[in-house]
Amino acid sequence: MKGAKILIESLLKENVKVVFGYPGGSVLPIFDELYEAPIRFILIRHEQAAAHAADGYARATGKVGVCLATSGPGATNLTTGIATAYMDSIPIVAITGQVRTNLIGNDAFQEADVTGISRPITKHNYLVKDIKDLTRIIREAFYIASTGRPGPVLIDIPVDVQQKDTDFVWPQEINIRGYKPTYFGHPGQIKKAAKFISKSKKPILYIGGGVITSGASKEVIQLAEKINAPVVLTLMGLGAFPIEHKLCLGMLGMHGTAYANHAVMQSDLIIAIGARFDDRVTGRIDAFAPNAKIIHIDIDPSSISKNIKVDIPIVGDAKNVLIKLIEEIKKLPDTSDWIKTVETLKKKYPLVYKRDGSGIKPQYVIEELYNLAKKDTIITTEVGQNQMWAAQWYKYSIPRTFISSGGLGTMGFGFPASIGAKVAYPDRDVICIAGDGSFQMNIQELATCVCNKINVKVFILNNGYLGMVRQWQELFYKKRYSYTCIYNPDFVKVAEAYGAVGIRVKEKDEVKEAIKKALSIEAPVIVDVHIEPEENVYPMVPAGEAIDRMIGGMA
């Protein structure tokens, strides 16, 4: 069997249903096989979008997303998408063509050292030099991508390896001696954590994306209810715990709710689960939660005590650890006073925006989207103000319904990610909340949507600015709006030119109708919502401040 065919057979063995990609000279044998393979291939218009779409597919399903590109520029275009997946621990397998093995290192046409370039942004990568290794490598790649702390894996396959012949032998088992993730927490550490919880007076759960990866939402709810403790979520954790649950304080950090940040700062025990104390969450690190002991549950030992010293580390899968921990807590802490304090904080520092005025407030658009969308709707976001408003004002209650580039903050992510999510769930609504800036970073994917009938709905919160940077310039650079006021095309015409539907909204009273219309049309729809141009995201913790030193956000 030819190498290219072996690749396809291996993808089928790994249960791959869809591949996002773009052809080129060094992947011709693979594309020749794809021509009649029982795999859905989505031809994107820029390789970056292939990686983001595979990523969106993975975030929506929990399965490994697959993208494919040619050597050289095809592969380098993937890198932003690979880095995005790496920062957010998303399982994708990126397959790239490479020049013939005898040309590697010779500066051949469309040659780039792709394993070299991708080394710091992948969990692992491979250059296949011998066709006999191909099935083993593919099997290992999917295994590494999807287990432990997930992440992207790249396989670089020279074109002559794709053409060579060998027997198809699927390895029965995987044995990677340097890779043995820890799934079960240490019983002694779990006992210790249970004791700390019993003794605590002001415990708080700090939930990150690891809970979604692990599928531990149910256990987090059980733990929170059992010990009657408030819950805060990271951006990546949104969806892991229902926002409308009475113990939920929403998102914490730079644009978190003020009551979440105050509660964290006042707590005496932080139970961190699948979260990594990122700088956008902790603010000034030496001022973070000064009276709190910290229990940290994470599958990646290197996440523990990286940014902040942890009192009780528990390395393991969140779900497994939580099941044991919930059992182990015999004496419940008395948190009634603490819950009262938290309730007071909620009343004192509510999440608000000014509802008066004639213009369209972006927060209002998000609220109405939440009111009108079905419960299982998947929201993806671009990066910047649109992302923060989508995080603050939409009430997520189901894991994997909020898809956003958290760690890397990649503009241009949300639209192709929505394509991946919609391909995974054609029967569910998928909405991309975008900004006018970031939407233009992968606007060409309108063609992909139209050609493949991928009916995603994009809501552009159009303020004519690169809004988040403009906000920082307003607050910290004396309103010197250096290159943040942008020229936009007519998005309705652009949508129509691609064969999609465009809707423009300029008045507040048109918002609801536009949402209803967009959600009812069986086509890709771009809704160009002209929002108040200088609306800011509040509250906000200025960079380097303690997280209870928030500005703005008072009614």
Binding site: P120, I144, I176, G178, P301, S302, K306, K309
Partner: protein, 157 residues
Amino acid sequence: MKHIISLIVENKPGVLARISGLFSARGYNISSLAVSETLDPTTSYMTMVVNAEDERVLEQIKKQLNKLIDVITVIDFTKKEHIDRELVLIKVTCQQKDLDKLKSILKKYSHYILKVLQDTVIIEMTGNQEEIKDFIEDMKTFGIKELVRTGRIAISQ
């Protein structure tokens, strides 16, 4: 503070690049690095001396190294009874008349005189860090023309 960390790694191309890339990407310092094959041809042994300002950085270095798929074992010699050695090759200026003086100083050290040239002696010396420091100081009195060191290697007791 300096720490000796040894790694057993897969003997594959690109592994050294992964390790050195990790150090540069995360801003850690390597003061020396020695790589060799082991009795098992599928693995290599790397001994590195790293500079970590505190315990937390050292812990992070070990955890990050462990995370690499091609790293099989990480051994930290900081709290382990161990013997460490380094090998030095040195060219010192030495006229024929001073040779006896040099030899008598060298008695203190584990060494071989590899070559005696007209006004130069090439010496191989092994020792721990203290001994090497003393040795180099002693050789300076003659004049060092060239000096190469292997980097430290260590073995547990």
